[in-house]
Structures are given as structure tokens and as C-alpha cells.
């Protein structure tokens, strides 16, 4: 994974890979709730699983459905397009015009066919002699130019008479070039058929539309049904429609079979092999040109006009593809969970239910480090900050794991992790205090006020220590504080930190006296990213909340707690997450 260490990725519980709880927790659940007794599947989430990458997301990409009380990831939300816009001119394109323009900007936005950088309209440089004779009326000419790779429309011999309305001018020149139908056009499209691609497509479309309307609207009966396709619905209607055998037979009677296109007026075109001399010229050209002068697959597929371009000097400017802004709906309850504002220039949200405001957040940092790295490795301030120390195998490292609670209730968090990390490299992981409460989030002022009135309530342990320190005259923040099993390390208003001990496993197994078989050796071979130490942690949070009148959602898991308004219900939330610790040294 590309993220810098340490990172936390969260798994949405929607896939079977991530939905199972580890046995230590599922047993506890089954003790409390006999309904879940069959859930004893002891599987840990393996971050090195090939499918794992598709289940893990950074927290800012996850949403939360507050109707279902569940995390939502790209796999369990549906997207709907709010608007289309051109990324270059930032103009919104009405949805009616999107299809006819081929999902591309019809204004004057073009990208370089060779390197995808945007093209700019530039005036043709005048020959040096013209500057010396300023009296001569200079003929103005413009071209499209790429500022990145120096491609310009001069390579195509396409020049414009004015710097505006590029699309019209370009279309005209394209038409003229294809219409000339001689060697030039066949060169262009590698297609000797005088009928251009676009015209052929247009006449084919009109022909088949006419055919469809002639043959009756049998196919389009259910055209705008919510099912995936009209044919599908037709099939379902035939099976369950309750029609009598007679009508069924009638309905099975195929309508007049459709005729195919027959002549070139209807868009029919035959394949004629290239004339030999044409092919010969292509081959000789290929011989003389270098590799760079031929087009790559990406360049050919970037736009329809370039689909048949064989040489780099035939590439036509690519109209900028449009982008969309999308809203997201929960797939289960169709509830909107994200809806951006339709203004293109800014990114604002009307509705945005973020996972990070609803699920406990986890992050980790090393306990002992002489000069701690920045909390987020994306903020590299100096070039030499980049080097990240590799983890030494078999050397125990202690990390502070901080759980932050974003909701307004005190939650009870239970963490579970396999004793040794799954995968080829087994590292030992111990969470010194796996179960603890985390205080509620709230106003910063709450904390300030409560700490000023009742200083002891902040943390019992700390206050006693502080009292001891004041008695003995020692600084309360003693540097050589030792982590203890079963005790939380640090606690603030809405976060609790515990210590995790990690012993990175060796990448190679110790050499053994008995010679190993081929299969054993192959078994030991490391896969890609096996040296990355990732710790899967199952987080389960439980809290009590007072139900409102309208919050009789499916959120509360156990039905017996579904009570009247004002009664307390227990809610729980559980998910896997993966902590990326670092790379293990050889």
C-alpha cells in the first residue's frame, strides 16, 4: 500500500471477508446473546489476503448510514450523478447534451493526443522576416499547442483562422479531410471506404430506428422499467405474468423479423482489403519511422477519431472528457448519505454522513522514539524526513494506540487482535489493555469547565499520581514510566490510549539442519508486501443511548431492548481495521 506509516485503514463489514468477529469477541457476544450462538466462526481478517485491499479504506473515504447504523463503503452505496462538468473550463453541461456530445466538452477544451496534457490556443509564430516589414498585413493563424510535450496541431497541418470557436473549425477541417476520400482519407482512417465512420454510424442508427418502429414496439414494451433491462422484465412477465397458454403462445410469436442494412445508404459497408500499394506504403513508412512515431494503445483509445490512427502524426486533438459530481445512497435503505452541492467551482456538501463522526477512530504512534516523526507522514517538511526506519525483527517495540470517540455517549471499547499476525511473516502482537471505556465527545468547554471544578474526575489514576508527586516533590511526568498490563496508558476527555507490544517476525525462517523440500522452500518464499507489518484489529464499541421518538431504527441489534421512548437501548458497532506499522528489515 502506498500510504506512509503508520496508517490505519478501516474495513467495511459488508464483505464476508470482514464481517466475522474473532472468537474471543464472538464468544463474549454469544454469552450475552444466545441468538448469535452460531457465530463461532473463528477467522481473523488477513491484511495480506489478495482481496483485503479491496475491503480496506482510509477513514475519510467511508460514510455512515444513520438509518442502518452501519459503515458504508463504495461497495455498499450506490452513486447517482448530480451533474456533468468539464474539468478544464469548469462549465456544467446539461444532462440532455451530455450524450450527444459523446461525454466530452463541446466548448473549446482539448487535450493533447500524445500526452493528455491540456492544449492551449497559441498564435503561430511569424517568420522572422515579417518583423522587419511591419507594413505588410500579417495573416493571423492559430494552433493548438501542448505545453508539456510540444505537440501542436501543426503536426497535423491544422491551423485556425481565429482563436475562438475551435470546435467548429476543427470539425470543419476534419470533415474536409475525411471527405476528400482520396489517399489522404484512407491514410487517416486506414479504411478505404469512402463513407466516413460517423456518417456510416448515423445512417445505421436511423435505419435501425426505423426498423424498430416498423416491427412494432414489442421490444420496448417495458423500456422504462426499474429492472435492469426490458428483456429481463419481459422474461419475468412471461414466467409470472399469469397469462393463459393461448396468449402465451401468441406472445411468443415473433414479430416480423428485422431486416439488416443492405446498401450504403442504410449504413452498410463491406470490408475491402487495403489495396496492395497502400499497404506497401504503410509498411515502408513503418520501416523508416522509429518506435515513438507510432501510436500507443492508450493514445488510440483516448478518443474515437484516433481509434484507427497508426502514426503519431495522425493523432487528432482529443476533446476533454467530462467529469461528474456524484451523490451517494445507502444501498440497503436508499437513504442519501452524501450529496454535494451542484456548484462546480466549489466542493460543498448538503448531506454528508461521515464514518469518522460515527465510529471510534484509531491511531498509533511509537512509544519511545528519540525524535518523533510528524503524526501524519504526508506532512514531510524536509527532504531528509523521508527515511523511515525499518523495524528490526525479533525486537519488541511498544506503541501507543489511541482510540478517539466521536459520539456523545461514553463507549465501551473491546479490542481483539490475533496473537500472531496472519500471513507469511508471523509477528507477535499483544494489546496490554484490550477493554476500556472512552469518554464522550463534546464541547471543548465542557472539559475546561469540568476540570476546573472537579479536577480529580479527569483521571483517578493521574490525580493520585499528581498528588504523590506533589508530596514527594517529583515531576508528575516521569519519563521512565513503564507500561503495565491491564492499565490504560493515557486518557483525555474523549480518547483513551493503551499500549501495544509488537515483536516483528523474521522475514526468513531460521536455517534448519534438515534439508528442505522444494515445496517447503516455495512455501517460505515471500510474496509482495509481505515485509509490511500490518496488524489487524477488531474493534467493538458498545454504548447506551436514549431512544428518540423517531429513532426506532434497526440500529439496536437486540430486539428485547426495543422499548418505549426515553428508554435506554444498547447499541453496538464492530469493524475490522488494519494498522500499518512499518516495514520489517531483512
Amino acid at each position: 500500500m502506498a500510504a506512509a506509516f503508520p496508517y490505519t485503514h478501516y474495513a467495511c463489514p459488508c464483505s464476508d471477508l470482514t464481517s466475522t468477529a474473532p472468537s474471543s469477541i464472538s464468544k463474549r457476544i454469544s454469552n450475552n446473546q444466545p441468538a448469535n450462538a452460531d457465530l463461532t466462526d473463528d477467522r481473523t481478517f488477513n491484511p495480506h489476503d489478495p482481496r483485503a485491499n479491496c475491503a480496506l479504506y482510509p477513514l475519510d473515504h467511508l460514510l455512515f448510514c444513520d438509518e442502518c447504523d452501519a459503515i458504508r463503503c463504495p461497495k455498499c452505496w450506490t452513486e447517482e450523478i448530480i451533474n456533468w462538468y468539464c474539468p478544464t473550463c469548469l462549465f456544467e453541461v446539461p444532462s440532455s447534451a451530455v450524450k450527444s456530445d459523446g461525454n466530452r466538452c463541446s466548448r473549446n477544451c482539448y487535450t493533447c493526443p500524445a500526452c493528455t496534457a491540456p492544449l492551449a490556443v497559441a498564435a503561430m509564430p511569424q517568420p522572422a522576416g515579417d518583423y522587419l516589414k511591419p507594413t505588410e498585413p500579417a495573416t493571423e493563424a492559430y494552433m493548438l499547442q501542448c505545453g508539456y510535450c510540444d505537440w501542436s496541431s501543426r503536426d497535423l497541418d491544422v491551423l485556425f483562422s481565429k482563436p475562438t470557436k475551435i470546435t467548429e473549425q476543427l470539425a470543419k477541417q476534419r470533415k474536409a479531410r475525411l471527405g476528400s476520400s482520396g489517399k489522404e482519407a484512407s491514410d487517416k482512417d486506414a479504411k478505404p471506404n469512402p463513407v466516413g465512420h460517423d456518417t456510416a454510424f448515423g445512417s445505421l442508427t436511423t435505419f435501425y430506428k426505423a426498423q424498430l418502429s416498423e416491427s412494432g414496439d414489442a421490444q420496448n414494451q417495458f423500456a422504462n422499467s426499474p429492472y435492469s433491462s426490458p428483456a429481463n422484465l419481459q422474461r419475468i412477465m412471461n414466467i409470472y405474468g399469469g397469462l393463459s397458454a393461448n396468449t402465451l403462445k401468441k406472445s411468443r410469436e415473433t414479430p416480423q423479423p428485422m431486416r439488416e442494412a443492405r446498401d450504403s445508404n442504410e449504413g452498410f459497408s463491406t470490408y475491402t482489403p487495403d489495396p496492395v500499394e497502400h499497404e506497401a506504403t504503410v509498411i515502408s513508412k513503418l520501416r523508416s519511422l522509429s518506435w515513438e512515431d507510432t501510436t500507443t494503445t492508450e493514445q488510440r483509445l483516448a478518443a474515437p477519431p484516433n481509434n484507427y490512427s497508426r502514426f503519431a502524426d495522425q493523432l487528432w486533438p482529443v476533446a476533454t472528457p467530462l467529469r461528474t459530481r456524484k451523490g451517494k445512497r445507502c444501498e440497503t435503505c436508499r437513504h442519501l448519505i452524501s450529496r454535494p452541492d451542484s456548484k462546480v467551482s466549489h466542493i460543498r456538501y448538503k448531506i454528508r454522513l461521515l464514518a469518522m463522526n460515527n465510529i471510534p477512530r484509531i491511531f498509533m504512534r511509537p512509544l519511545h522514539l528519540p525524535n518523533p516523526p510528524p503524526p501524519n507522514a504526508a506532512f514531510r517538511l524536509r527532504a531528509d524526513d523521508a527515511v523511515q526506519a525499518e523495524l528490526q525483527p525479533n525486537v519488541a517495540q511498544q506503541y501507543i494506540l489511541t482510540i478517539r470517540n466521536p459520539i456523545f455517549e461514553t463507549i465501551k471499547v473491546t479490542l481483539a487482535t490475533p496473537g500472531t499476525t496472519p500471513g507469511n511473516v508471523a509477528s507477535r502482537v499483544t494489546i496490554l489493555c484490550p477493554s476500556f471505556p472512552v469518554g464522550p465527545a463534546g464541547d471543548v468547554w465542557d472539559e475546561a469547565l469540568s476540570s476546573s471544578t472537579t479536577p480529580a474526575s479527569a483521571s483517578n489514576d493521574g490525580s493520585r499520581k499528581a498528588a504523590m508527586a506533589s508530596l514527594t516533590g517529583k515531576a508528575p511526568e516521569d519519563a521512565d514510566r513503564q507500561p503495565e498490563a491491564g492499565k490504560v496508558w493515557d486518557r483525555t476527555r474523549n480518547s483513551t490510549s493503551v499500549i501495544v507490544e509488537i515483536v516483528p517476525g523474521p522475514l526468513k525462517a531460521p536455517p534448519s539442519i534438515v534439508p528442505k523440500t522444494e515445496a517447503e522452500l516455495a512455501d517460505q518464499a515471500l510474496d509482495e508486501d509481505d515485509e509490511v507489518l500490518e496488524v489487524p484489529i477488531y474493534v467493538r464499541a458498545e454504548w447506551e443511548t436514549v431512544i428518540d421518538a423517531d429513532a426506532f431504527g434497526p440500529g439496536a441489534k437486540d430486539d428485547k431492548h426495543h422499548g418505549r421512548q426515553g428508554e435506554k437501548v444498547t447499541k453496538e458497532l464492530a469493524y475490522w481495521c488494519v494498522l500499518g506499522v512499518g516495514k520489517i528489515a531483512e
Binding site: D60, G147, F379
Partner: protein, 205 residues
């Protein structure tokens, strides 16, 4: 530019000069044309940064008698961080045989990674730019974008709001998540890309 206070060099040996509005400017930054640079406050200019405020547009007609106020060449918003060894150079182009410079505008909470060359026309707020990028002249970066390290943004490219950009030349490779820039900034929490950079600014000493 809010001028650095009267700090005598002998008495303080700290790396940064802090202005009245809280800007931190490294003593090892190369700054040309101070009077043409505006820093919004609580912004950081780190060591080795080259700010070319001297590349500003010359006024059309020379002032007669009265002096014209300084034109702005570079304006940086609040709580933006320009990391080490960046070059900030206003874009220019030849028009009618004359080199014309265009003012550059950088928004609030923008992070520019080390070793990056910036010549863009504007960078909106909450943009995170990785290390060793090249932002070519006249590119426009809209808000909440993420530019991955080692990206070369071609000239005149417009990057729409909320895009993740990478490659040489840069291409839009994705969109930032809904939670871009959210959930950070509180005391003791990690800093979030695109979020409030004030804690980061505070930590730079």
C-alpha cells in the same frame, strides 16, 4: 508583506522570525521583492524556500510625481505551509514582445511539500501538494485537491475541486473522500491532509 519585527540578529538565534500576524519565516529562506509578497498570517516559509516577489507586473505607465503602491506578486493565505527548498515563482508570458508577470494567489491551509516548484496562477484552499512536484506556469488548482509527490502539472491545466492528481504529465487519478480535511486539528490528534494546518504551524519551531 507584514514586516518582520525589529529583531536584532545577535539576540535571537531561532530558526524562524515570527511576524505580528504569526507568520513564521525561516532565516534561511531566500526572499526577493518583500514588498510584493503578502502572507495572510500564521503561515510558514521554511528554510531554503525561494520566493520571487520581484517578478511582478510593471505598471503600464510610469508614475508621474506620486509613487504607486507596491503591486502584489505572491499572496499566501492563512495557515499555509511552504516546506523546505520550494521555489515560488509567479507565472509569466511573452505578450506583444514584452514579458508580463501574473500575480500568484495561494489560499488558506495549503501545504506545499519540500522541493516543489510552484508557478501556478492560483492554488485554492485546503490543497495538499506532495514533495518534489512541478506546478507549471498558469495551472489552476481548485480547492481540496491532493497532488501526489513527484507530479508534474502541465501548463494551463485546471484541476477541478476535490481531485487527486498524479503522473507526468498530471492526470486526475481519483477523487478525495467525503471526509477530506475533516476530523483533525484537535489537540493531540494527528494532522489531516487538507484540514486545518494551525496545529502543524504551531509545531514548527
Amino acid at each position: 508583506m507584514s514586516r518582520p519585527g525589529p529583531v536584532s540578529r545577535r539576540s535571537t538565534k531561532s530558526e524562524y522570525i515570527e511576524t505580528d500576524t504569526g507568520n513564521k519565516i525561516s532565516r534561511r529562506a531566500h526572499i526577493e521583492g518583500k514588498q510584493n509578497i503578502m502572507l495572510g498570517g500564521k503561515s510558514v516559509v521554511m528554510a531554503g524556500v525561494c520566493l520571487r516577489g520581484d517578478l511582478h507586473r510593471k505598471s503600464e505607465k510610469p508614475a508621474e510625481g506620486e509613487k504607486e503602491g507596491p503591486t502584489t506578486a505572491i499572496s499566501v493565505g492563512r495557515a499555509s505551509v511552504i516546506a523546505t527548498n520550494c521555489t515560488i515563482r509567479p507565472p509569466m508570458r511573452l505578450s506583444r514582445g514584452q514579458m508580463t508577470f501574473y500575480p500568484m494567489r495561494i489560499g488558506d491551509n495549503v501545504f506545499i511539500g519540500p522541493g516543489t516548484h510552484v508557478s501556478s496562477l492560483s492554488i485554492s484552499s485546503h490543497v495538499h501538494i506532495g514533495a518534489n512536484c512541478v506546478l507549471s506556469p498558469f495551472c489552476v488548482i481548485k480547492e481540496s485537491c491532493k497532488i501526489l509527490p513527484h507530479t508534474v502539472v502541465p501548463p494551463h491545466m485546471v484541476i477541478p475541486a476535490g481531485s487527486v492528481v498524479a503522473g507526468r504529465p498530471a492526470q486526475i487519478v481519483g477523487e478525495v473522500g467525503e471526509g477530506w480535511g475533516q476530523g483533525g486539528g484537535a489537540e493531540g490528534e494527528e494532522w489531516v491532509e487538507g484540514g486545518d494546518l494551525r496545529p502543524l504551524v504551531r509545531s514548527i519551531k
